[in-house]
């Protein structure tokens, strides 16, 4: 399998009044083409930070200290996202890599319609495509039988076509630049916006929003939470990204709506042939839609395996404890003793050792490296040779 994103040794620190918060601690992770990789973990374990680091959305006082993130979209040479210029990374955000956030209400601007917001993304990244479509539309009009057309109007349309063609062929030339800037003349470009709007409607249909032609003119507050999340997904997919980051997209939703969104995401992932990084705290959701799952704790990955393997044969003590803590029918949940460590003052050695029942001296001194136990099954734990490991699973 080809690797789409390779995260190598990324560390992120936040310099706050309380001290330095180590949000990501030498994190390494590969994401393959066409897979859904789940990142699970508790609050503050760094799962959202991983997503933000990939898109370079970390704001001061946060700093990406070390590491590289190689992104290899179809056929092209890998680029290091962390060393790109601000302009180049902006061209990637929303087009090749896009993100769906937890709170759909916050991700949408309340003063613009759904259609405006989706169009904005499309015009930002697919402007040329929209121009080509607008020209085609004009040609289609001009090819109609002559007697059905208005001659004066014809002249006007030809002028429009000329401007559009100029924009396409030499975007730096004087004419397109003037037309794009001068307020009233800008109206000549309405066909481009029209095409973007049409694409927006198509996207809304894609995410199963009923009556998309009407909904496209709605403001966010007129939609329910589930509908808003669908609109956000439509926006994220508007440029057919190769890589979609979903940060707890269903946490704010009810279970019946969550089931709808999960099914939608799974279908769209196959349709767009993209990879998904699915961040969640809900192990059940991860089990339902992910191909591989990484468990995070204290800013690093502690276990990473194929989904069946991870849930059937969890090896890291934290993963086991987490699974035991999930309430299941007829079973009492088993709590993990202690609390999540203070991020400004993490314990030395393995971050989990104060809560771990198997901790030994080495755990208090040395941070374990992530290493492969079985093909495709990685853990970051010192105690992997002894009693911790049961018989390997059969798949």
């Amino acid at each position: 399998m080809e690797k789409l994103v390779q995260i190598k040794g990324v560390s992120v620190n936040f310099y706050t009044y309380e001290g330095v918060v180590r949000a990501l601690n030498n994190l390494s992770l590969d994401i393959y083409k066409g897979e859904t990789l789940g990142l699970v973990g508790e609050t503050g374990c760094g799962k959202t930070m991983t997503a933000f680091a990939i898109l370079r959305l970390i704001m001061p006082p946060g700093v990406i200290e070390t590491g590289t993130i190689l992104f290899t979209p179809n056929g092209s040479a890998p680029v290091d996202l962390l060393s790109l210029s601000e302009k180049d990374i902006r061209a990637i955000r929303g087009s090749k890599i896009s993100m769906v956030f937890q709170e759909p209400g916050n991700a949408l601007n309340p003063v613009y319609t759904i259609g405006d917001q989706i169009s904005e993304v499309i015009l930002l990244h697919r402007n040329n495509e929209m121009i080509v479509r607008a020209i085609k539309d004009i040609d289609c009009h001009l090819n109609q039988p002559a007697d059905e057309r208005n001659k004066l109007f014809d002249y006007f349309i030809r002028m429009q076509k000329y401007i559009l063609a100029a924009m396409l062929n030499s975007p730096g030339a004087l004419l397109p630049r003037i037309v794009q800037k001068v307020p009233l003349v800008k109206r000549l470009l309405w066909r481009i916006n029209n095409e973007a709007k049409k694409t927006a409607v198509a996207m809304l249909k894609e995410v199963d929003i009923p009556d998309a032609e009407r909904i496209v003119n709605y403001y966010p507050h007129q939609l329910s939470g589930g509908m808003k999340q669908r609109a956000v997904i439509a926006m994220a997919l508007a440029c057919s990204p190769k890589f979609l980051i979903a940060d707890e997209p269903t946490t704010a939703l009810d279970v019946t709506i969550q089931a709808q969104i999960l099914e939608l995401l799974q279908r769209l992932k196959d349709e767009f042939n993209s990879s998904v990084l699915y961040i969640t705290h809900d192990l059940g959701v991860a089990a339902a839609i992910c191909d591989r799952v990484g468990v995070m704790y204290g800013g690093s990955i502690v276990e990473l395996a194929e989904v069946n393997e991870l849930f059937v044969n969890p090896l890291h003590p934290y993963t086991r404890a987490l699974l035991a803590a999930v309430p299941k029918p007829g079973e009492e949940p088993m709590p993990i003793p202690g609390f999540i460590p203070d991020p400004t003052n993490p314990p030395a050695g393995c971050p989990f050792h104060p809560r771990c029942s198997l901790a030994q001296d080495i755990c208090r001194l040395e941070k374990p490296e992530l290493h492969e136990i079985y093909p495709g099954h990685f853990i970051g734990c010192h105690i992997d040779a002894g009693e911790n490991i049961d018989t390997p699973s059969q798949n």
Binding site: E42, T43, S224, G226, M227, D254, V255, T256, I257, Q258, A259, Q260, L262, E263, H281, D282, L283, G284, V285, A286, A287, A288, V307, N308, F311, V312, A321, L322, L323, A324, A325, V326, P327, K328, P329, G330, E331, E332, P333, M334, P335, I336, F339, I340
Partner: protein, 348 residues
């Protein structure tokens, strides 16, 4: 058996105000005609999606929200229920009124309500907004004691330390501020405050939904211990069916202001009778990829409670709906022992 808490035909409507003179143009029927018993020592789970009225029901029972109509009884002897029933049958308004005045919580106000508040407490969903950020923990935990004038200052402090130990926190924390604690610890403090007046009945409004699973398990175990120790009765409001299933004695499922199913968790989970309960169970993902359920995706969304569909409120999303569902509302009927369901076409 006499219940500790009984609601009868309880309704809580919120007016939708419009125009300059704030005229009500409609009502959000958050709690619509609910009769529910909570037995002594029961841990009753109230399950439903957002907007189904579960929180409103809990807060109405505690009289933090004014009921529109209906009755709430708390720790009322069974003779009184008989008297009320006979008075209702005879349509004896005078006796009824005096009985309501003395026993019906819905009519209480002022001092009478304050006395009652000692016995029933609420634990909020979000531990980050339920503790006053500018008060020390000792002031937060001892506030109920101050309000009810129960003890002197020294004793209050002693009791506060005792309460902190009860919920698994060190008494050294008493002079710290809420922001110095994590979500789980804050929820423990909120529980300590609820226990301060030795109540009989506690309403938990999604106490673990803002917490991580490992901490959630800690809190659930703590609640279980406290319940046994002090012989408490819980009304546990949650949207997570799995949580309710693993800890509650009984479960009531709510949909759009109505209770649609009631029963023992193990039975409800194995053989749900109401199609909505079934949908809830099947929509909840479980952390076991090999046991992938036949995922049932319920079409559509919960309708607005200001304008619920006629007949059975679930019928527009229900695959078993027939004509009768669209016209007539199904009553909550007893079906087998300790089992009630409101459906014309139950699954079992």
């Amino acid at each position: 058996m006499t219940p500790l808490v009984r609601t009868k035909n309880l309704k809580t409507y919120f007016p939708i105000l419009q125009g300059i003179i704030r005229r009500p143009v409609g009502y959000v029927k958050a709690v619509d005609d609910i009769s529910l018993d909570v037995q002594h020592g029961q841990w009753l789970g109230l399950v439903g999606e957002s907007g189904c009225g579960k929180t409103t029901l809990g807060k109405t029972i505690l009289r933090l929200i004014e009921p529109t109509s209906g009755h709430i009884y708390f720790d009322t002897p069974s003779e009184i229920f008989q008297q009320i029933e006979s008075a209702e049958n005879e349509n004896n308004q005078e006796t009824l009124e005096t009985l309501y005045d003395t026993y019906d919580l819905a009519t209480f106000s002022g001092g009478k309500l304050k006395v009652l508040r000692k016995d029933m407490q609420l634990v909020h969903q979000d531990p980050f907004s339920s503790l006053n950020p500018r008060m020390k923990i000792k002031d937060i935990v001892s506030e109920p004691m101050i309000v009810h004038n129960s003890t002197s200052g020294d004793e209050r402090l002693k009791r506060a330390a005792e309460l902190m130990n009860l919920v698994g926190l060190s008494e050294k924390n008493l002079s710290r501020y809420p922001h110095q604690f994590s979500g789980g610890q804050r929820q423990r403090i909120a529980i300590a405050r609820a226990l301060a007046t030795t109540p009989k009945f506690i309403v938990f409004d999604e106490p673990t939904s803002a917490l991580d699973v490992s901490v959630q398990a800690q809190i659930l175990i703590l609640l279980k211990e406290l319940k046994q120790k002090f012989n408490l009765t819980y009304l546990y409001i949650t949207h997570a069916l799995t949580v309710a299933e693993s800890v509650c004695d009984s479960i009531a499922v709510m949909y759009l202001g109505k209770i649609v199913e009631y029963g023992d968790p193990s039975v409800i989970f194995k053989e749900p009778m109401h199609p909505y309960t079934q949908a809830l169970i099947l929509s909840t993902p479980i952390p076991d990829p090999q046991q992938k359920r036949v995922r049932l995706v319920l079409p559509g969304e919960v309708p607005s409670p200001s304008n619920p569909p006629p007949g059975c409120r679930f019928h527009p999303r229900c695959s078993r709906a027939t004509d009768v569902c669209a016209t007539t509302e199904p009553p909550l009927k007893q079906r087998g022992q300790n089992r009630k369901v409101a459906c014309w076409h139950p699954l079992v």
